[in-house]
């Protein structure tokens, strides 16, 4: 990605941005986030198919944000996250410049977030086939079987909150689990505590989750917790016409339509 390196250097040299967030080679065959602050740091920038971590999780972190204006290497999921974050007033044109990477691996620099939004809107969020299959399989189970499935799947969870930390939408300084008057979600990791934590997280992401799988990728225990948010995404599509991050439009869950479905209400 010579183009990316070149542009990152220019931006840093000109002082247009203070930090360029991108990917570099990491341990084993992994890649990791790079924070280029000096122009020479940009030489380490890479981009390839291994770069799946959602870098948008960094742009709300005080330590990164505090450096000054940021530029970010943004794949489609990252851009989606950025747009959702912008709609929640967490980033704006004055502190973020987006160096987009198209699904065809082409770099495009966006003038502003409105352009990013327009780009993002060219694509709809589609659930990958392998996940659709899993979801269908679950749908076919009886509720009791699903219950056993989830209790079993969530049982290894030790609440390290890697899912939360990796999620670009989980930027709250004090998460619901840390709210203790009352203690809505049990702090310890046990079947009930794990269940409630993941339920709560899924519903807080309803209409916000951009389906980047960052949570699943981050989970050290390989829990398929992204199935929960994918389910929410499917519901959003089924009931509310689908979800697409948008800077100005009302948030999917803080708005309503007078004719929302109510066949389940007696």
């Amino acid at each position: 990605m010579d183009e990316l390196i070149k542009r990152a250097k220019e931006l840093l040299e000109a002082g247009t941005v203070k930090v360029v967030i991108g990917y570099e080679n990491g341990s084993a065959d992994k890649t990791r986030a790079l924070f280029a602050i000096e122009p020479k740091d940009a030489d380490k920038l890479i981009f390839d198919s291994r770069c799946v971590m959602n870098l948008a999780t960094y742009i709300t972190k005080a330590e990164v944000k505090g450096k000054g204006k940021m530029a970010i290497t943004a794949t489609l999921p990252v851009m989606r996250a950025i747009i959702q974050l912008a709609s929640e007033f967490q980033v704006n044109d004055s502190n973020l410049l987006v160096l987009g990477i198209t699904p065809e691996s082409k770099m495009i620099e966006f003038k502003d977030l409105a352009e990013v939004e327009a780009f993002v809107h060219k694509y709809t969020i589609e659930i990958e086939a392998k996940y659709s299959e899993k979801l269908e399989k679950l749908d076919k189970m009886t509720p009791s079987e699903r219950w056993s499935f989830w209790i079993e799947e969530l049982s290894p969870c030790f609440k390290c909150y890697a899912c939360r930390a990796a999620c670009p939408m989980c930027y709250c300084h004090k998460c619901t689990v840390e709210f203790n008057q009352p203690q809505w979600i049990p702090v310890p990791s046990h079947d009930l505590g794990n269940l409630e934590w993941h339920m709560m997280r899924a519903i807080h992401l309803a209409g916000r989750c951009i389906d980047c799988d960052a949570c699943y990728n981050a989970c050290p225990l390989g829990i398929p917790l992204n199935l929960l948010t994918k389910r929410m995404l499917i519901d959003a599509k089924e009931h509310f016409g689908g979800y697409q991050p948008s800077i100005k439009a009302d948030h999917l869950m803080s708005t309503y339509k007078p004719d929302d479905k109510d066949n389940f209400i007696m």
């Binding site: 990491g26 341990s27 290894p156 609440k159 890697a162 939360r164 981050a218 225990l221 390989g222």
Partner: protein, 341 residues
Amino acid sequence: MKSDRRLVRKGSLEKLFEVLKGDNRQVYAPFSRNGRTSYRKIEKFSDIATDYIQTTQSSKEVSFPRTEKILDYSKNADGMSVKGIEPDQIPQIMLWGIRPCDAMGIGELSSIFNWDYKDEIYNNRLSKVTVLGFSCSKTDEYCFCTSVGGNPGNTEGSDILFTQLGGNGDYLAEILTEKGEKVIALSPELFEAAGDIEKEKFLADVPVKFSHKEIYGKLEKFFDSEEWVGQSLRCIGCGACAYVCPTCACFDIQDDSHGKLGSRVRCWDSCGFSLFTLHTSGHNPRNVQSARWRQRIMHKFSYMPERLSVYGCTGCGRCSRACPADMNILEHLTSIKEAAL
């Protein structure tokens, strides 16, 4: 005591497993699901995972469960009735298949729980654990036990250490403690006499990257280094590293109440969480991720050696493997070693 060396046929392992399972004993061994390996109670020998360099989670849960009741209470007409946990509620555990680094970690973890105040809950659990270690014949780029005082065939912390002699071979069993002898006594016929075996030949080669003493010396003056900020910038502040670590002992104490009845539990916590040290006043002594990352490294490589005379790292490399942001402790320690003061 000097170790007793025996030979266990490959085919005898399953028999040993069956023997160990009986009589109010539970066998905890590596189990794989979703591509991750962790320890859990195993009923069938075939459920034991074998294809792992290192388990995803450490085995510390046998003595330091992620969530553990420390007392029950009930309110009644006369006041309050409070009950602790009785030791006989804790079963005998056969901890099967842990790596030498983890076995070494048991001592490190114990030193925290016995620093002046003896944590009887922990000690009781540990006293019921028999450690059946398995030497390492494989390694990956995350391993660095040899840099922190361990090695792939280290006997420290194991009651019996098994070393497989070649890819599909029999096992050398080094019986290291009384607990280990008790295991032999359960089924002596499985433990044949071992001839002269050069164990080292069958062990993985883990290169030495630094010496922990070297790191200790460096850290003494490293508290205010800018290096912490650079290293921790990509840290996302989760607790994965702490929770997979065999020696991390940070915990929280929480109450669980249901009207009159309830219990108090101890559960894992992590120094990496941003609210870990937050005062109710809103003041936070470690208010940036770099301070929290520094705490993690300093605790293991500076504070523990100074205060407890042990290091808090076994070189198992789990934290690096588990990290969603690819924080690599080996790499970071190496750069601390090389950093200018």
